[in-house]
Symmetry: C2
Subunit: 162 residues, 2 copies
Amino acid sequence: MKDNDDMPGHLARRFQQIAVAVFHAEVDQAGYDLTPVQYAALAAISINPGIDQVTLAGLIAYDRTTITGVVDRLVQKGLLVRNASTKDRRARELQITGEGQKTLEGIAPAVEAAQQLMLRGLTAEEAEELLRLLRKAIAAGNELSRAPLREVPEAGQGRPVK
Amino acid sequence: MKDNDDMPGHLARRFQQIAVAVFHAEVDQAGYDLTPVQYAALAAISINPGIDQVTLAGLIAYDRTTITGVVDRLVQKGLLVRNASTKDRRARELQITGEGQKTLEGIAPAVEAAQQLMLRGLTAEEAEELLRLLRKAIAAGNELSRAPLREVPEAGQGRPVK
DNA sequence: CAATATTGATCAGTATGCTGATTATCAGTA
DNA sequence: TACTGATAATCAGCATACTGATCAATATTG
């Protein structure tokens, strides 16, 4: 009977569990009320203003149905606006608000601290290696989940390599 | 502005996402209907018959409130029985059924295949190193989540090392 | 152009995972 | 023994995540 500690799936769940807990602890303490997922969405929209929800989902590897609720809550909090697109009436264009931008900036130190804290058991070299191995494993498994990472389809570019 | 690929929290979420997808794919294909969490609970109960829910939670690092629903569903499927303890009327003793044991054995190859598959982008050495680093990071962060790993408090033993 | 296929968003339903509260029971102590 | 604190389980409520379906709008093709 295999030990849980030899099961990558089990270790993945636990590491993520700790990562989320650390994120919440740091962010709450800094006086903000944002989840890791909400933060990632907000940051992505800030960098890609006017993005639609499907593209946003691909950019941060969310399921498309999860996005609806996440965006709902960010709009509710006044950090985003969601407007129907003029080019494609099916799509909604997402824009960050001033409040959203201010939140994103104010929360940055807490987010940074959380990223450090979840690696606190590792040396700098080990942390670097862990990230490298995670990136490599994720790249190989990207297409296996319903929410793979996708490039932003820039209008003025050729198709993405993959 | 930091890239998502440099954020351990983001990588943790994606790796876990892929791990769960791979688990479901393999298990479904083998003709079973068990989630990763249900599998872990079932396996832990098989090894520790008569365990109560709090101890089970500590053993596999679940939140205690999550256990209730997970056990509910396993009982519903006929893989577990949950009886009031005679020694402590607050506690419920969990036992695996014959059906549960059969499921656990039948599902083993699929679970094994899933664990391999989620590491398919890595060499054997890299996979080993990834697991080592995850274990180390998790050990350091164990107490930071609401659902830390706990030793089984064996009646006839001294206190666990940690 | 009309029929077909695809796509963006949403919804219903299920299963984690958490916070915080409640209830029943147990353990220790004044 | 009565009181106090701790503990096992559950519940309500919220936020991911996913499956599969639906609806409106766009794209493709015969």
